[in-house]
Amino acid sequence: MQQNNFQVDGSAALEMEDVIFRFYENGKKNILDHASLTVREGTLTVLMGSSGCGKSTLAAVAAGLYPENGGFLLQGSIRLFGKDLKELNPRTRAEYLSVMFQNPDLQFCMATPEKELYFCMENMAVPPEEMKQRVTDTAARFGLESFLTRPLHTLSGGEKQMVSLACLYVVGSRMIILDEAFANIDGEAAKKIFTLLMKMKEQGSTILAIDHRLDLWLEAADEIVILTDGAKVLERGLNRENLEEAREVFRQEGLFFPGEAGKRYNNVKETEEGGQYGESTTCKEENLPAVSFDAVTIFSEVQKRFGREIPSGKKLVENTSFDIPAGTITALLGSSGSGKTTSFLALMKKHPYTGTIRMFGEDIRKKKPEELYRNAGFVFQNPANQFVTQKVEDEVTCGLRIWNPEWTDEDIQREAERLLTAFGLESKRRLSPYMLSQGQQRRLAVLSALSGGQKLLLLDEPTYGQDDRSTEGIMRELLKKKEADGLTVVMITHDRELAERFADRILVLEDRKIRERGM
């Protein structure tokens, strides 16, 4: 009997023993490959591991969300607070364990935070006469009062995640898993949620945090566990005292060791550029900035009236001027919803503005959209939104064909081959782009955005949905292209460390101004 192998320990919140889980019944790849994990009641455990190691799947399997919503559980036993998971239904499972997910847009069923809280309580069969008071108390505790009845889709990512936590609180689960819940929100919001989470822990909640950044958790974590392929435990029992011993494991798994941001940057320079970094590039000789904003004002919304666009809503950017020199990597920071993406769209003539925007010295008002797209590529937050074919290879050839109509099929084939090889995607050429991992998808998106020889690349949140290793892979690629072809990169990010690691300049959007920040 499997049960005999269990440590008999009344204080275990989650026990997973020798679990095998895969997405395709007859496939070869086990996402969870003999995975075992124990989390003690009342602790904060942090789960780390490179992307694709199966940590999110582990969370979903532990919560019973898989195989209910996909995949096959072939073997192993899972217990929540001593109860066999198989015997629990979603409602009874939620009494023990619930999950807060990464994407704040896809966690809700109802239209407003208030209604969502009612929905959660109804799920748990809370008596209706108690509900109103509970909503009031919860809203006060989590600071939701000011947006309790606003539509959820109008809230910021941080506010949405706060609502999410409040929901788990009213559900009353004894254990909470956070599956990269802070990945897409800014640092300030994450800290607020963290503080409330710690209050819940003091009152006895068990917390399992899956994160690719340790910084926020390090001080409070009782145990840090590092997983490797198949969600197997590579290292456990780590905490802030003995973390130093695991430095090598972090490096080997491509994980972020806390406080190492500065060093990384130097490594990249030395290994990739051989010390040549900082030399003038070809483009700089022209001396024209890649992008320049001159007294630009951008409104959040546009109303169309009688075919004319009338700006409305609040001012996102007001009377702002700045230059981005060609052949540099620039990061644009700023809290979520401050208008970074909208500024990018204005630069591509996809959002109206007042003032003058120039791209490589030319006023974009005088340019046709197609001419702009020929000069600048855009990689969206969700790269899957910009694939236009159903095969990786076609994705590249399609771009090449559009931008180089004079090329022969052979030219295109040869160039596609070269690009795919350079970006490490040649083995995936026949797959559907959607079959790729998040990191590979973004690489393909970059590759196809630059297939017309674009000199400027706009990257929106390049860290979205992937770990450091994949982000770093792309950034190295772009550093190389910057050196070789004088490519200019502008990236929007909320990740200060990424900006410090790779950007030559950092711009900050704050109080409706875009200013340079000292490095």
């Binding site: 896809l106 939104n385 910009q386 559009i402």
Partner: protein, 252 residues
Amino acid sequence: MKAEKLNPSVKMAVILVGAVALSFQYYITVNVTVFLGFMLMLVFFSNAKKKSILALLLPAFLAALGLFFMGLYYARGNSLSAESMESVSNLPYAVRAAASANLLTALQLATRLLAFAGMGIFFGLTTDGERLVFSLMHQCRLSPKFAYGTLAAVNLLPNMVKEYGQVRTAFEMRGIHVGPVSAKVIFTMLVNSIRWSESVAMAMESKGFCSEEPRTFHYVLHVKWYDILFAVIVLGAIIGGTLILTGIPGSI
């Protein structure tokens, strides 16, 4: 008393039965009465904004006009070509008779469409989607799985619209021209939709949503006396009106 307070399931049932009843009669009087009746209810007994009423009425009138002209030119047995309509007064009696017969058909069809639109607009502007779904759950035994699944999907609409715009922008920036309906854009959106369905299902289940266990309800909608009154008045007017007019020869 406001139309918003009516039970949504009753309102819906009345309109569906009313629509079927209207489909089996051809009295312009009945159609126009229904249309005007619902419009008056909207104006005097609801919180609907005049602007939203007009915004929905305009396409309804356009559609009615389309049907009107179709009836006028192509009513069965009395087809007229557009040219022969140019100067009606100079035409022989037979053609004018056909024209007037066609005019009657045209009005019958167009006013029926307006009667439908009146009911539809009334329903749309006085019914909160969430209350409708709750009411379907409580009065019509719709299972919570379908009820909350529907609500979750509808609440994704703003995200959907945002994403749809983004996909189109992304395609354009890649140099691909996208028409008003592009299968490629729809494909990308379907990819998102399927991913979303999985994420939302997991989030809902993680919060304890379960079809096997009984749930409590924050509020439950009931059928009240005024719902019955509404049903009696509306259906009474349609069916009663039709029967009375049947008894009067020559009525239209």
